[in-house]
Symmetry: C2
Subunit: 446 residues, 2 copies
């Protein structure tokens, strides 16, 4: 970092970005006001990131340092070859061939989505760039935008709120069951703006869907900070799955912010597959669960190189009979550091919660830490947790090797067997790629 950026400098940069965004998005005044309020909050909000210092944050704001990319991407063919190759590796083309379907590509100025989705809109499935939803459905957006967060919680929430751009607005009408997974991919491209997509998910009563976010950032980017925010509202009886595939390159810091309100009898399964967590990945999703509602947070965490991965997760079991599970499996290599710290708070009778954390440490320079928390405020909740950190058992390895497998193959097989139970809800076409990435990582080939 060559020059010092002051808080005042950063504020004035953000102010310019707000003006630009307001103009570019033809944004209604109420939204721009939210941005300016967040800008004020940015100044006084605390900054408590375990990795990014305030100085660095200001630097990221001033100098995103990224190289250019095509301004507009209308179809996958417009993507630069490197990026297309990356999507190929993740099996995107296969997905498209299968569904010709729910694919939306997030660039930092908006969302590209295809004809297919416009037909489903008639049945009650609305997928729009959030900016467009702001103009088209102002009342619904107003009712849900920044209701699960406060801009002044931290400098990062304030910054996101001031400059959010891109993101998906997903609305699923009462009773509609979407039969195919919806795919959403983030590509960090441009430049002057932060990558700060804002995702709003509204699932009406008894609706069902599965949204898959594949976060891939091509090698074109030099430095970056990814600050997505997801607000999910599941009405009574809705069943939603949100699967996030993270494969960030190692110089991106990501701070995914996810919160969900889960209505009576609703069910939310949130799976994070952290194949490439970037330089650092810090997340503490929160879930409020109403009567007989259910939430599941599954974390598959791969620690490589000098990555810092920190996955929290707070579940508030507020309605009678609400239940939550926070389960993670981590494979930790090289000099990476992986931390899990789920918390479940039982605040209503007959609630149940379980936290589990299993980790395989593959290197003695790697560090694994787990700090689960259970809080019970009622006398008839059932809360439990369990964790195990260890290495691959030598007997297991020797057994497989005695059957003719090389040590590398045996190790890959054991790691795969360790992680596989967590991947139960991942569509097969992703699973193939995920397995390949894990195998490569375990063999030191990434």
């Amino acid at each position: 970092m060559s020059e010092t950026i002051t808080l005042r400098d950063a504020k004035s940069i953000i102010e310019n970005q707000i003006e630009e965004l307001a103009k570019r998005n033809k944004e209604p005044e109420w939204m721009t006001r939210i941005r300016y309020n967040a800008l004020e909050a940015f100044e006084r909000a605390p900054h408590r990131d375990p990795v990014i210092s305030e100085e660095e944050l200001l630097h990221f704001i001033a100098k995103p340092e990224i190289e250019g990319l095509p301004e507009k991407v209308e179809s996958l063919d417009d993507l630069p070859p490197e990026m297309k190759a990356l999507l190929d590796r993740l099996g995107i083309n296969e997905v498209e061939q299968k569904y010709i379907a729910g694919l939306a590509v997030q660039t930092d100025t908006g969302v590209i989505y295809n004809q297919f989705l416009q037909e489903w809109a008639k049945k009650g499935l609305i997928v729009l760039p959030t900016e467009e939803a702001v103009r088209k459905y102002p009342d619904i957006v107003k009712e849900h935008f920044l209701r699960l967060f406060r801009a002044d919680e931290s400098k990062l929430t304030a910054y996101h709120t001031a400059v959010w751009n891109g993101g998906i607005f997903l609305y699923v009408r009462e009773g509609l069951k979407v039969p195919f997974p919806l795919h959403l991919f983030f590509l960090i491209q441009e430049s002057a703006l932060a990558q700060a997509p804002h995702i709003i998910i509204i699932a009406e009563k008894n609706s069902e869907f599965h949204l898959i976010e594949g976060c891939t950032a091509p090698i074109l980017v030099r430095h970056s900070l990814h600050l997505d925010m997801t607000e999910a509202y599941l009405q009574d009886g809705a069943r939603a799955q949100l699967t996030v595939l993270q494969n960030w390159p190692e110089y991106v810091h990501t701070r995914p912010m996810t919160r969900a309100k889960i209505g009576k009898g609703a069910r939310f399964i949130n799976t994070t597959v952290g194949l490439g967590s970037g330089k650092s990945n810090v997340a503490n999703p929160k879930y409020w669960v109403d009567e007989n509602g259910y939430v599941e947070l599954n974390g598959i965490l791969l620690g490589q190189k000098d990555w810092y991965v920190d996955l929290g997760g707070e579940m508030y079991l507020q309605g009678k009979g609400a239940a939550g599970i926070n389960a993670s499996k981590a494979v930790i290599m090289n000099e990476s550091r992986v931390i899990t710290r789920g918390v479940i708070k039982a605040e209503a009778p007959k609630t149940k919660g379980h936290i589990s954390c299993d980790a395989l440490l593959m290197s003695d320079r790697a560090v694994m830490e787990t700090y689960p928390g259970l809080v019970s405020r009622v006398d008839d909740a059932e809360l439990s947790h369990e964790a195990a950190i260890g290495k691959i058992r030598e007997e297991e390895l020797f057994y497989l090797m005695s059957r003719g497998l090389s040590e590398e193959k045996a190790t890959q097989l054991i790691v795969r067997g360790f992680l596989e139970p967590m991947l139960k809800d991942i569509p097969m076409e992703f699973l193939v790629e995920i397995r390949r990435i894990i195998e490569l990582a375990v063999s030191g080939g990434m």
Copy 2:
């Protein structure tokens, strides 16, 4: 609190106490210098207590508010009847009858111990009031006093170090196996001085002993803060047990500070039976474990009334093959709040650690929180934890009641069955009393 006590006021009160202690104990100059250094540290040291504010702490220093007690207690017969009754309830007389033995009663000016121990001294068992040890064995005390703590860690460690008085110096010669449990009882009596006993335990190679501390504070005391500090040094192959029976009345805040260095192949079992934890009881013992050493922290925690009980425990497995277990069982009633937060850090190969926490919540106004932590810095450690918070299962209760037990008796039986496995190392004469206290508590009779 009627008047405001400033930090300056508190310092000058502590200064007077240091002068008094130095004179009364005919203290060598080096020890008095330690006190004065701690007084300086007190001013700048942080104060981070979850219950006692800095204002309250200063108030405790200025106004212990306790009523008078006999100046000298030479034998149990000199005790006021209330206190004697309390000791009777804890089975002390039986203990004495059995061993006529290792009984030491801590008053706030020193330790009374009997003839019996003087005979064992010849075999290499030294039990002395810490003040006396300072004069008699200055080199040994200098080498071990405040080596596992720093006075400036917090206002409480600084305050303790400045005004420590009383406490036991326990030295067990190489290879000596003490065949009877040593009993040490704290009685908060006097007044102008804080109750801040300093306990030094030195177990030479391959020695063995079991020290039982019974902390009982008679009803005579109106307000108080108990700040004991224990430093235990277990040399290679030593096997030591430290059992602490806490039965503080509900207006005493206790902050037991315990740390131990556990040598190669040594074994330290530290059991805390918190029957009466006082208004609040906050402890975070620390253990450093060398090659093939073993440490066990067992917490039996009874939460009653509006008590605040917060038991941590940090284990550093520093030598190859070191192992640690942190196990707690809590029964939580009324409006009490019980927190457990053990941490095990594996810093050497082939280390093993396990944390478990089980809690029975008996009231829906009570709160249980558990935050275990596991940190592994090596690839071949085995760390695990498990926890379960719940209430008594109705089926279990109904089954016992169908066999003719009243609900109260059935509940008592279940709670006893729940806690019993943790009480395996408690001598029988204490066990009888402990069971009675638990039964009374569960029936709301305390």
